[in-house]
């Protein structure tokens, strides 16, 4: 048997977590340094995988497949294609940022970092699993470390927020579980690729096998779809299933928020791409209009909501809803039509989605990192009205954070731009009206982000911020790679896209037939 690269990938963070727990309690700096190094090592391992990844074929690679629970036809199956690869990459990138962003955690830092590593492990597991059974294991377990990170290190109302987060996500997971069990009962398979291979409209057949007495197979199929959809819609989130998000992102410590928005929300999108679109394509086509409306509403409402916020964290919480909204819009657009003439646009849209995931992970995480720095310097104040005229005191801070913000509003030359460009370019021909409404999102994003810049950095210096100091050398060095990466991705996105082309083509092909 071959080298179990992926299993090791998921095990590395676990090992790291154990190591963190074994560290001596007394020392304050030791945990953070160890955590940082370990996370960078894991990043290195992931990059190694990326290099070893054969971008000339769009099939699954590094496959591991072992019989597990024969009674349930469950097998342990790991493999990655380009999509999973992007996910792994962004997770590996986000975690160090998150750790850096929570550099100054005082309370039980080793436990804190251990939980972060566990979170990473579960995410790796989710992105590599191809069998519902253990995919679901990781999907669920990811909540636990996240919960405790929020609950124990969060702000005043953290308890409520964390519970809301957990219960909300659990609701989604349970409905998804029920749907998948229904599918299993009829098909006897938990394997994603196998289920996707069943081709269009196998679900009504499934429903027919279930022999539900009250509903027609078609409707039952929709019911099953709805269950799964809810699971992911809550995770991403899609308005109106998002109410857990603002409170959670706000109450969580900024480092954790960076991870939540940077990596964990991507789990939802990944679910859409890996599970929902391939397996439920016919149902999505059935419901395409409402779904598109949902995503448009997500984009527009979230951006307006962001505009109305006073709390910086809340602003970017909503803005990350908005950014992922583009991905979902494009995702739904992918399955709208099977007209071969539109194939290039679909390619563009899909690569746009992937690029957007990566760049949003990078940008959002970095922004929350900056926010954590802000919070630290402003000893906890987060409201726009608490800041002002910082540029004079901290030019470097202002400049670097400005870059991050600009990348988030999609300024050309920064990573946000090519992603959104591709998405819009690809989506517009597929669903013109929805896309054109969504452009509003870009516009308002620009508005409120400029508003933030203006409020925080320009104008007269705020009275309480007299002792605000600029980035230290260490912080600059730490931030530099992230900023550079933004530029790199913005100027030369091919770096990523080239690795994904084959996958994109294969994926679309499999989606259409």
């Amino acid at each position: 048997m071959s080298f179990p690269a992926l299993t090791i990938l998921s095990l590395l963070p676990v090992g790291a977590a154990v190591l963190m727990l074994l560290l001596p309690r007394a020392n304050a700096t030791l945990p953070r340094v160890t955590a940082g190094t370990l996370s960078l090592l894991i990043l290195a391992y992931t990059l190694l995988l990326w290099l070893r990844f054969d971008s000339t074929c769009g099939t699954f690679q590094f496959e591991e497949r072992h019989a597990w629970i024969t009674a349930l036809h469950v097998e342990y199956r790991l493999a990655i294609d380009g999509i999973s690869l992007v996910m792994l990459l962004l997770t590996a990138i986000v975690i160090p940022i998150g750790i850096a962003a929570s550099w100054r955690t005082e309370r039980r830092p080793s436990l804190y970092f251990a939980l972060i590593f566990l979170l990473q492990a579960t995410m790796f597991g989710t992105f590599t699993a191809l069998n519902f059974f253990h995919w679901f294991i990781f999907w669920e377990l990811s909540l636990i470390p996240a919960f405790f990170l929020i609950r124990l290190w969060g702000g005043k109302r953290a308890g409520r927020a964390a519970t809301q987060f957990l219960v909300y996500t659990m609701v989604g997971s349970v409905t998804m579980l029920l749907s998948f069990l229904a599918i299993y009962v009829a098909t006897g398979s938990f394997d994603f690729t196998e289920l996707a291979g069943r081709g269009a409209g196998f679900l009504p057949a499934v429903a027919a096998n279930l022999g539900w007495p009250y509903l027609t197979p078609g409707h039952l199929a929709l019911l099953i779809f709805a269950g799964t959809f809810l699971g992911f819609a809550v995770k991403v989130p899609l308005i109106p299933f998002h109410t857990w998000l603002p409170a959670t992102y706000t109450e969580a410590p900024s480092g954790v928020t960076a991870i939540l928005t940077g990596a964990m929300s991507k789990m939802g999108v990944y679910g859409f791409l890996r599970i929902l679109l391939p397996i439920f394509a016919p149902q999505i086509r059935q419901l395409i209009t409402p779904l598109l409306w949902l995503s448009v509403a997500t984009i527009v409402l979230s951006v307006f909501a962001a505009f109305a916020q006073k709390d910086i964290k809340r602003i970017f919480a909503y803005s990350s809803i908005n950014h992922l909204g583009y991905c979902l819009l494009a995702g739904f657009a992918l399955v709208r039509t099977s007209n071969p003439a539109l194939l290039p646009e679909q390619y563009a849209a899909l690569s746009g989605i992937l690029l957007q995931l990566l760049s949003h992970a990078l940008t959002a995480a970095t922004i929350f990192w900056f926010i954590s720095l802000l919070e630290f310097r402003a000893n906890g104040d987060r409201f726009l009205s608490d800041f002002g005229g910082l540029r004079r005191l901290a030019p470097v801070f202002a400049g670097l954070m400005g870059i991050a913000l600009f990348s988030s509003l999609g300024l050309p030359g920064l990573n946000g731009f090519p992603a959104e460009f591709l998405i819009f370019k690809g989506t517009f021909p597929l669903v013109p009206w929805a896309t054109s409404i969504s452009v509003l999102g870009l516009l308002i994003t620009a508005v409120f982000i400029l508003g933030v810049i203006q409020q925080v950095f320009t104008g007269p210096l705020h009275a309480n911020r007299a002792n605000f100091f600029d980035l230290t050398g260490a912080e600059r060095c730490a931030l530099a790679p992230a900023i550079t990466l933004m530029f790199i991705l913005g100027i030369y996105p091919q770096l990523v896209l080239s690795a994904l082309n084959r996958t994109v083509i294969a994926y679309m092909h499999q989606l259409r037939f």
Binding site: I69, L72, T175, L177, L178, L181, V185, W212
Partner: protein, 503 residues
């Protein structure tokens, strides 16, 4: 060899009784621990040796020739796994009741008596023998609770005893009727299962026997003994109660009621209140139990009551699994028996031993301010793990069980499967609520806990580790249990059930 699980426990109990009241406590405890461990070891070795899961006879002696009753012990995959469960819980229980000081030897005597009887029920192949062991269980239960229990112990104990005895009375009626109807040649399982009773007889006998057993399995609305009993009982007793004794009920439902009277599950000729068969009736009752128990647990103020009702809810899963008469559902039910045995035991241990024995209160609101997550981190972590396992989080045994049961339910009663989903959700919520209130509530700085709590002792840690480890093992590799359960379910013994709509 396997029979010695029974004998050694009884011998241990006898030895305990012979010991003087003033005997050295540690010696008594060690003896008890030794006995329990020996039983566990035997069970484990048997579990490892018999991988086929088919029935194999342990002992078969002509006992009462006048009625063709044999002293016949046998085991198949199902009973083996349950015997193993009993062994694990027994050991854990002894470890968790290390702090019993009042009449220690009597306590452990009753304890071991109970254990031995439970082994006996799981191992007996002759139904007379099974019933004998089944009734022996009642008395030690009563005394354990009434003597060493806590709140309203005598009420709880008496209630439990009465419920059990009423249940076993129903079982006795059914058994005698079946015995006579089968020609009173023999009481052995295969003989009775093989003698085809008339459908009319089975339609009457099935509910009687099934309810008789299900009372002990906490079937709604006969569950009310469970919360009071669990709360009143001392830790070890509630561990056994929830861990194995309730399983006796479920086991009886499967092994006796459903095996002897498969036709009793067949649809009636007519509809009553929309029900077309006992199967539907009991399935609905089971689901009601799931949701009802979870909801009631959601608003309890007493920590132990939360767990008590949670076990009502979990037992509902077992009964539902049994009622989905298909291979996956029933094996799921058996896995749930094991899983709940481990987890409920652990939960009760945390609440009763780790928390209550130290803080002397079980009021969630009173526990909150003590900031237990810092004072007793081990207890907190254990409870989190146990709670996760209990609410069916993947990776633990509870998940596999619920998954398989819901699979079965999808096949049998789709509508109920959806309700079960709701039940699972409520389960998550109440576990989380209890955990937050008990361990992670905001500590009030000015009022630190009155007494410094002594740290979690070694026996407790051992036992907790044992239970968690086995739960995770089952959760990650259920195949090891399924390997021997499913052949057992495919054995000719269940032929009747298979004809009755087995899938």
């Amino acid at each position: 060899m396997l029979a010695w699980t029974i004998y050694i426990s009884f011998l241990g109990a006898g030895a305990m009784l012979l010991l003087p009241n003033r005997a050295a406590k540690t010696g008594v405890r060690c003896l008890a621990l030794f006995t329990a461990t020996a039983g566990f070891g035997i069970a484990l070795s048997a579990f490892l040796r018999h991988r086929t899961g088919e029935f194999f006879t342990v002992t078969d002696i002509d006992w009462i020739p006048a009625l063709g009753i044999h002293y016949h012990l046998a085991a198949d995959g199902i009973s083996l796994s349950l015997v193993l469960l009993t062994g694990i819980v027994a050991v854990a229980g002894v470890l968790f009741s290390w702090d019993i000081d009042d009449r220690t030897n009597q306590f452990f005597a009753f304890y071991l008596l109970l254990i031995g009887a439970v082994y006996g029920v799981f191992l007996s192949y002759d139904l007379f023998l099974l019933f004998v062991f089944y009734e022996i269980v009642i008395i030690p239960k009563y005394f354990l609770i009434a003597n060493w229990g806590s709140t309203r112990r005598e009420y709880g104990a008496m209630k439990l005893a009465i419920y059990s005895f009423v249940g076993s009375a129903m079982v006795l009626v059914g058994l005698i009727a079946a015995f006579v109807a089968a020609g009173s040649q023999s009481m052995s399982l295969d003989y009775l299962a093989g003698s085809h009773f008339t459908a009319a007889f089975q339609l009457v006998a099935f509910p009687v026997v099934f309810i008789g057993f299900a009372i002990l399995a906490g079937l709604w609305p006969f569950h009310t003994w469970a919360p009071t009993g669990h709360v009143a009982a001392p830790t070890a007793a509630s561990m056994l109660l929830a861990g194995v004794v309730m399983k006796l009920g479920a086991y009886g439902c499967l092994r006796v009621a459903m095996t002897l009277f498969p036709l009793g599950l067949q649809p009636w000729s007519h509809h009553v209140l929309g029900f077309a068969s006992w199967r539907e009736v009991f399935a609905v009752l089971a689901v009601v139990g799931i949701i009802y128990g979870a909801l009631v647990a959601l608003v309890q103020r007493d920590f132990k009551f939360v767990i008590g009702y949670s076990s009502v809810s979990h037992m509902g899963f077992i009964l539902l699994g049994l009622m989905t008469i298909n291979l996956i559902g029933v094996s799921g039910a058996i896995i749930q028996m094991i899983s709940h045995g481990l987890i409920a035991g652990l939960l009760f241990a945390v609440v009763g031993r780790m928390v209550y024995a130290r803080t002397h209160t079980r009021e969630l609101n009173a526990l909150g301010p003590m900031n237990l997550s810092r004072l007793l981190p081990f207890a907190a972590v254990t409870f989190i793990l146990a709670g996760m396992a209990g609410m069916g989080l993947p990776g633990f045994s509870g998940f596999v069980a619920e998954l398989m049961i819901v699979l079965g339910a999808w096949g049998a009663f789709p509508a109920l499967a959806l309700c079960v989903g709701f039940g699972i959700l409520i389960g998550i919520v109440y576990v989380w609520r209890a955990m937050q209130k008990a361990f992670f509530a905001e500590p009030d700085r000015e009022a630190p806990p009155p007494h410094s709590l002594q740290p979690i002792s070694l026996p407790e840690k051992l036992a907790a580790f044992l239970l968690i480890a086995s739960s995770v093992a089952v959760g990650l590799y259920p195949q090891m249990v399924l390997n021997i359960i499913q052949p057992a379910l495919n054995s000719p013994l269940f032929a009747g059930l298979r004809h009755g709509g087995w899938q």
